[in-house]
């Protein structure tokens, strides 16, 4: 079974530039999550989708971050404009559904460096 695919793996941009990350979840997984992992910290949930609807975006800095999952499959996360403190690994995860016994699988992440 193919895992959660993310691209690009690495990205370096200057502050105030824009950047977008892409995630392809495991086939058939209705629930998709974006996490931000700053160096030395645990991942922090940014947004959760159920199919193409947003379930939880309470921790998403909406003034600069946006995410969409238009067809309920792939998802993109955008940052515009980027700040130095956005340097982090952005992890995408997916699960079959929303029940507590459904396991979430994580992708390898996109490492963003803002200079």
């Amino acid at each position: 079974e193919a895992g959660v695919a993310q691209s690009p793996r690495y990205k370096i941009i200057e502050k105030r530039q824009s950047v977008a990350f892409w995630c392809n979840p495991i086939s058939g997984h209705a629930t998709l999550y974006w996490y931000q992992q700053i160096l030395g910290q645990g991942p922090k949930l940014l947004i959760q989708f159920q199919n193409n609807g947003v379930v939880d975006d309470s921790q998403l800095p909406k003034d600069r971050f946006s995410a969409e999952r238009l067809k309920g499959v792939d998802s993109t996360l955008k940052i515009q404009p980027a700040k130095l403190e956005d340097s982090a690994v952005y992890l995408c995860a997916s699960s079959v559904g929303q029940g507590i016994r459904t396991e979430a699988f994580f992708g390898q992440g996109t490492r963003l460096t803002v200079v």
């Binding site: 629930t31 999550y33 645990g42 991942p43 949930l45 959760q48 379930v55 995860a93 559904g97 507590i100």
Partner: protein, 114 residues
């Protein structure tokens, strides 16, 4: 606000020794997870603990949950070098919610030396 605290944050062990990593959380939750992360890699699920008194074991790792104390432990028995990694505990943010909707601790970086 739900907070998850792990200790220690750094752990250097000798091979063959035993040690325990602790995970405390601030409010009640219905699920707790342990993950492993190798450098530059993604998160690998180790254990899912859903009830008070739950104990799960896999190889040299054993996890337990005390929901009354809001405490989970990850015990390492006779450590080997392959266990070197960062270990995270994570707690469900809302009752009955998705496994992926979690609050993570800062992680414990484990280094096992010969």
């Amino acid at each position: 606000e739900l907070k998850v605290e792990q200790n220690p944050l750094f752990l250097s062990m000798q091979e063959g020794k035993n040690y325990t990593i602790y995970c405390n959380y601030s409010t009640t939750s219905d699920r707790l997870y342990w993950y492993r992360q190798d450098p530059g890699k993604s998160l690998e699920s180790l254990f899912v603990l859903l009830s008070n008194g739950a104990v799960k074991q896999e190889g040299r790792l054993m996890a337990s949950l005390d929901t009354k104390a809001r405490l989970s432990t990850l015990h390492i028995t006779a450590a080997v070098h392959d266990l070197s990694a960062t270990y995270f505990c994570a707690v469900g943010r809302d009752y009955g919610g998705s496994q992926g909707n979690l609050i993570f601790g800062k992680g414990t970086k484990l280094s096992v030396k010969p």
